[in-house]
């Protein structure tokens, strides 16, 4: 009987040049619930859809603050994400201790990228089963990075990973031009709208299942150069959802009117 002999470990190439274990890990990312990230000239936002394993359980964390200037959003194995986020927290604290400086985003992203790559090249290890979006600000402004289990990292303008994320990406591609000049609230609005696109018919964004994290450059006249990474979870998210509601119902009303004219 046919058996794939090339997927037993992550160090063996298949004759087609593929490493199946890495691809399987990337499947794990696709099983995770969706997270969206967008960056403008002033802010970087992360939006995530939380899932609860059963009716009686709490919702799985999707956005994690790493340091005061950055946070991550996760899709895939939450336990692997916890290992990575703990590592990132250590690295950023280390930078603050030895240099008195917030770690540059590119630096920490390359670091976890290297760690993930090592896992794909050592016998007896397995790739991380999680994809990350890393958002934050440093001396060179706001940034958004994507991280994959293969160790691949990329800087992005906007990105979505996880289950049904293609719908969100379509939305992001359609509105790409607007993101750069977005204000803080507008950017969150785009994030939530992109997230909404991915929902199946019977689902909607609620206080329980929506989470938002945002960091940015400080507004003129405020103290400090950056606006710290802020996590909106639970009741904090209510105003953001209400703003989304107001924005979308406005456009829908126009749509409904034109429908009437049609008939």
């Amino acid at each position: 009987m046919f058996r794939n002999n090339y997927d037993n470990d992550s160090v063996t190439f298949s004759p087609q040049g593929r490493i199946f274990q890495v691809e399987y890990a990337q499947e794990a990312v696709k099983q995770g619930s969706v997270v969206v990230g967008i960056v403008s000239k002033t802010h970087a936002v992360l939006v995530g859809l939380k899932r609860n394993a059963e009716e009686l359980s709490s919702y799985q964390k999707k956005v994690i603050a790493i340091d005061s200037h950055m946070g991550i959003a996760i899709a895939g194995l939450a336990s692997d994400a916890r290992v990575l986020s703990n590592f990132m927290k250590q690295q950023s604290l280390g930078s603050r201790l030895t240099y008195g400086r917030a770690i540059p985003l590119e630096r920490i992203v390359l670091h976890i990228g290297d760690r993930a790559q090592t896992n794909t090249q050592h016998y007896g290890r397995r790739p991380y089963g999680v994809g990350l979006l890393i958002a934050g600000v440093d001396d060179s402004g706001p940034h958004l990075f994507e991280f994959q289990p293969s160790g691949m990292t990329q800087e992005m303008v906007a990105c979505a990973i996880g289950a049904r994320s293609q719908m969100a990406r379509t939305y992001l591609e359609k509105n790409l031009e607007q993101f750069a000049d977005c204000g803080r609230d507008q950017l969150i609005g785009h994030g939530l709208k992109a997230l909404k696109e991915t929902l199946s018919q019977d689902k909607e964004l609620t206080v329980e299942n929506t989470t938002v994290g945002i960091a940015g450059l400080a507004r003129e006249g405020s103290v400090g150069k950056i606006e710290n990474f802020k996590l909106y979870d639970g009741q904090d998210i209510v105003p953001l959802l209400e703003a989304l509601e107001a924005a979308t119902s406005g456009t829908e009303a126009v749509g409904a009117e034109s429908m009437e004219v049609d008939s």
Binding site: Y99, G100, P104
Partner: protein, 260 residues
């Protein structure tokens, strides 16, 4: 047969005779640096309006012997920061290599993230403290000059114990005794740094270097002079003391062989 752990992996006594344990020990305990060897003397630095100036002579002494006369004790870091070293020269060279390597690391990612003088000072203070905690200190006192996170002039010191402090003017070694009082008289503490011009600050440093050459027997009349401003670092490594006057020497009594 001896089965005890201390005999594991060693030739059997009953076959090869008693093992000569003296090979396992060195004759003396490990010892770390207890005193510096080749040393540099004072480093002076002063903040002025829009920058910092620093000076250090080019002598490296081996005890009281003037061993090397062309040692550059001020180095530039990342075009925006200067670091001046007093104390052991070989430890200075080691720290110089450390700084080179973090400079390289920092420049791998080229998009706008740089270490400023404050970051470099924090780093060096951590290195020095780590080494003193190993009881193997790097025998230096270091001045770091440049700009901080808010692009304001920055000047701070770190020494072999890991102690740090900062002031509008700082000096290491003999300069701490001879130059600081002069600088304090020229630029009193309550005088804001904004009132001190660049030329004024540099002139004061040159004057202090002269006094140090008169009175510090481990100093030299050739020195390096660095000026950091927002335009970058201007480092001159071939400065010479000018207009020396040794007339005062006649009046010194109490040293040497004179009778009265």
């Amino acid at each position: 047969m001896n089965h005890l752990p201390q005999a594991w992996g060693r030739p059997r006594d009953d076959v090869y005779g008693t093992y000569d344990r003296s090979y396992l020990q060195t004759s003396t305990p490990n010892s770390h640096t207890q005193s510096p060897a080749v040393t540099g003397t004072s480093v002076l630095a002063i903040k002025f309006n829009g920058g910092v100036a620093m000076a250090a002579d080019k002598l490296a002494s081996y005890g009281s012997l003037a061993r090397f006369t062309d040692v550059k004790r001020i180095r530039v870091f990342d075009k925006t920061t200067v670091v001046g070293f007093g104390g052991d020269i070989s430890d200075m060279q080691y720290i110089d290599r450390l700084l080179d390597s973090i400079d390289v690391e920092e420049n791998y990612s080229s998009n706008g993230n740089t270490l400023n003088a404050k970051n470099v000072h924090t780093y060096l203070a951590k290195v020095l403290y780590k080494r003193r905690s190993k009881f193997d200190p790097l025998w230096n006192q270091i001045l770091v000059a440049g700009f901080d996170d808010d692009s304001k002039p920055f000047l701070s010191s770190a020494d072999l114990l890991g102690t740090t402090f900062s002031a509008p003017h700082l000096a290491t070694g003999f300069g701490a005794h001879l130059a600081i009082p002069i600088l304090r008289r020229l630029f009193p503490e309550e005088m804001p740094v904004e009132n001190i011009g660049k030329e004024e600050a540099v002139a004061a440093l040159r004057e202090c270097m002269k006094v140090l050459f008169y009175r510090d027997a481990r100093s030299l009349d050739q020195y390096s002079l660095a000026v950091v401003t927002s335009d970058g670092v201007e480092l001159k490594e071939d400065e010479k003391l000018e207009a020396q006057s040794w007339n005062f020497a006649e009046n010194i009594r109490g040293y040497g062989t004179q009778v009265n």
